[in-house]
């Protein structure tokens, strides 16, 4: 416990978390500070490319681990299963309609790649090394939750649009999956010589770019909070704080079954405990248009994301160190 607190406070005073806080405060105070959409998107492409490439190089270095396939499968299963737990919790804790609850559940089964990136960077600060293929696991966990959610919505009489081929393609080939998997493969193929060529670009400035990106995330989350007055009942809020813990628990179980290293265990908890706010919202607008976007965006971006950033990640890292290898 003391360890968790020490780690949390060390984590709290990093430039990254403080940048997020700055953005949050600026947006809540209605400052006109903004980061242009194109720049934010450029930074996210950089972060995804960098983390994918580093993962691939690390797998190239350590040889293909037999657990890669098992970990991918575990990720897919987690993404399918977690929405059911989230849906059940929502039914108990909130009065959301079945459609809204299903849409929220989809977000928690999927993952937040920025939480993952921040988690990796905290791990590095703590001197832990995770399995390189965890980025592939992250990619694998993006989409399955959507299927569970549509099943939940239609089972409860909600009007889900039928999943046409276009929607499948959009979900499975969404930008972050393609970029993560693609750069992972590029890292895998080019290995250390490739890394030597582009290291100065993708390694050294990484944490600095992450700071500015989290500043933008803080701005976006803060604006979302401001626009979402009235959306968050106490029950919904409580769900947004409890669910990441539940999700991380699933991740812990899966990671221990797989026999991951302490670093890998922590990242598995980070993934399972995080909630999507890019891929899944877009899919929900197409497939479950009757679900209210304010609810799921505010929950995932305004509640769970900051919770994970500030408390979740250091807690999962501490647990993983206590439990894992």
């Amino acid at each position: 416990m003391q360890d968790i607190l020490a780690l949390a406070s060390a984590n709290l005073l990093t430039p990254m978390i403080l940048c997020f806080a700055l953005g949050l405060v600026a947006a809540l105070a209605r400052s006109e500070l903004t980061i242009p959409e194109a720049v934010a998107k450029g930074m996210s492409i950089y972060l995804l490319f960098s983390i994918g490439f580093k993962g691939g190089v690390s797998v190239a270095d350590h040889g293909l681990d037999a657990r890669l396939v098992a970990a991918l499968a575990a990720g897919v299963v987690l993404s399918f299963v977690i929405p059911f737990a989230a849906f059940a919790l929502l039914k108990v804790m909130t009065r959301l309609s079945a459609t809204d609850a299903a849409a929220v559940a989809a977000h928690y089964g999927s993952i937040s790649i920025v939480t993952f990136v921040t988690g990796s960077s905290v791990l590095q600060g703590a001197g832990l090394v995770a399995e390189g293929y965890m980025v592939a696991v992250a990619a694998a966990m993006e989409a399955p939750a959507i299927i569970s959610a549509l099943y939940l919505a239609s089972r409860s009489g909600g009007q889900a649009e039928k999943m046409d081929a276009d929607l499948w393609r959009e979900i499975l080939l969404n930008g972050s999956i393609v970029l993560l998997v693609g750069s992972f493969l590029i890292g895998l193929v080019t290995g250390e010589p490739g890394m030597a060529r582009i290291e100065a670009f993708i390694v050294a400035p990484f944490q600095g770019v992450l700071c500015l990106f989290l500043l933008d995330m803080g701005l976006v989350a803060g604006r979302g909070m401001r626009n979402a007055k009235g959306v968050l009942t106490a029950g919904v809020l409580a769900f947004g704080l409890l669910m990441p813990v539940v999700g991380a628990g699933f991740g812990l179980a899966a990671g221990m079954l797989l026999g991951l290293s302490a670093g890998g265990l922590a990242l598995m908890m980070v993934l399972a405990g995080s909630a999507s706010y890019i891929a899944v919202p877009a899919a929900m607008r197409v497939a479950l248009p009757d679900a209210n976007p304010s609810i799921y965006l505010t929950l995932s971006l305004g509640v769970t994301f900051p919770f994970n950033l500030v408390l979740g990640i250091p807690a999962w890292v501490a647990v993983a160190q206590a439990v894992g290898g």
Partner: protein, 102 residues
């Protein structure tokens, strides 16, 4: 100059629906349209702005100039797509040069 009667249809729709809308328009025989970016707006589902978003999102405006007799086909096609989604459709009388293009 010689001008010809036409209708100008303006459809404001969520960005993830854009490709579905334009596919429906093309299927309904609409020969041309233009897509404009939107910065923000307000409607029954509240105020939003591009700055409050991550990822691909927000809305776009699709503008079509068409012959009056094709209006109904276009509106049917567009309406099927936007029906359950947020957004608006507005129609104005217009005139165009070079009628052979429409």
């Amino acid at each position: 100059m010689q001008t010809h009667k036409a209708k100008r249809v303006e459809i404001i729709i969520e960005a993830p629906m854009e490709s579905r809308l334009t596919a429906a328009l093309e299927k309904a025989g609409v020969t041309g349209f233009t897509v404009l970016p939107v910065l923000g707006g307000s409607g029954r589902s509240g105020r939003w702005s591009r700055e409050g978003q991550v990822g691909r999102s927000g809305m776009v405006a699709v503008v079509c100039l068409i012959r009056p007799e094709r209006l109904d086909a276009l509106l049917e096609a567009a309406f099927t797509v936007v029906e359950r989604h947020i957004g608006v459709i507005g129609v104005t009388d217009a005139e165009v040069l070079r009628a052979e293009r429409f």
